[in-house]
Symmetry: C2
Amino acid sequence: MESITSLQNSKVKKWTALHKKKERDNTGLFLIEGEHLIQEALKENIVETIITDEQCPFDFENIVQVSPQIMRKISDNVSAVHLIAVCHKLEKQPDMVSRALLLDGVQDPGNLGTLIRTAVSFSFDVVYVSEDTCDLYNDKAIRSTQGALFHMPVIRANLVDVVKQLQKDGFTIVATSLEESETMSEIPKSEHMGFIFGNEGQGVSKVLQHEANHRLRIEMHGFESLNVAVAGGIVMYQYRGK
Amino acid sequence: MESITSLQNSKVKKWTALHKKKERDNTGLFLIEGEHLIQEALKENIVETIITDEQCPFDFENIVQVSPQIMRKISDNVSAVHLIAVCHKLEKQPDMVSRALLLDGVQDPGNLGTLIRTAVSFSFDVVYVSEDTCDLYNDKAIRSTQGALFHMPVIRANLVDVVKQLQKDGFTIVATSLEESETMSEIPKSEHMGFIFGNEGQGVSKVLQHEANHRLRIEMHGFESLNVAVAGGIVMYQYRGK
């Protein structure tokens, strides 16, 4: 087993740099922390290296033993972390798709991660994110998925193209909107559906609202404002897959 | 108008200390940032002082002009903030209650804030939080409410006592649970209902599950795990008030 004790070690520097999006994009690698996430990642065969300052609970060919000081340097977390894994980005492709989630410019990594976690729970098959949606491999986004990202194909694409292709394939596309919209009881469930949620401030862009088959509003009284991950949860529950 | 230029000024120190729960508890004061939140707080007459390093957009008797450097010291935010208000904690009492939200040991300030925001949107009348639920006046909790906390009575109490009192008053109490539970279609809507959501890791405590009239599970496939604010959104939407 390899052992590293110097903070100046080039691998330590390389791993620490993975907190930056640019470095993740260049290398195709990202970091995860904690036993639960690593267990999920091992099932998907995407783990490259496991780094620990304790006894490693996993039987894995590439474990690197480091000092607690190095662990603190690599970790993003304020509280002590004893297991970190370097992973290859996933390239999962969806099989049969019946339910698609489309995210148009979601900015908060916590919201992105939570939406993916919810999509897995309600049997969605694929998540498309617009070019300007925040990075999936951001530490907070990964933490918020609670491991769900390993079970879901997430594809970055131009959402106008995605909507047009899905419609050709027989999908009904529903965009959330506050104007000229229908409630959930007015939009029937069908076999193939896609749901678009938008940016925290601006909502779904006009062009996508226009392309969609339905514009959906969640009935509310009073404050008239929901967090996008909460709105996503309500709609995905209502139209959950099988 | 008062003007402060020294970082050592005693008021600056006092305001900065309000990021600590202990100081908020001792003084009954808390901080909010940004024009939108301050506007909402002014409507409730809880603003004590407005602090700014720019032209103040509000007509208010107690505005303090400070340097950008002082502003950065007082603010919790990484990006520049130009308006901060010191507020008195709210003591809102509920009027007629038809829908109550009970939070049992919610730990994440973002989840707490989001749950309160959602409760306002779905016409809930009161939120009870257990003694071990995180502080409502935490910066992140306040930001996540998006101002909704000014429209909702939030009462810290022993939830077993609250449940017993609500049941005496004719309320049906529903606790979320994974075991021995019913789905939403099996639990009818009624005029007076209370819903208990629990800690992010442990869920609702056994004693509260036992006291509740129903144990509710959200139907899911696959991953079987929802963020508590998302679960709260789904249930509050389904049983929303009028």
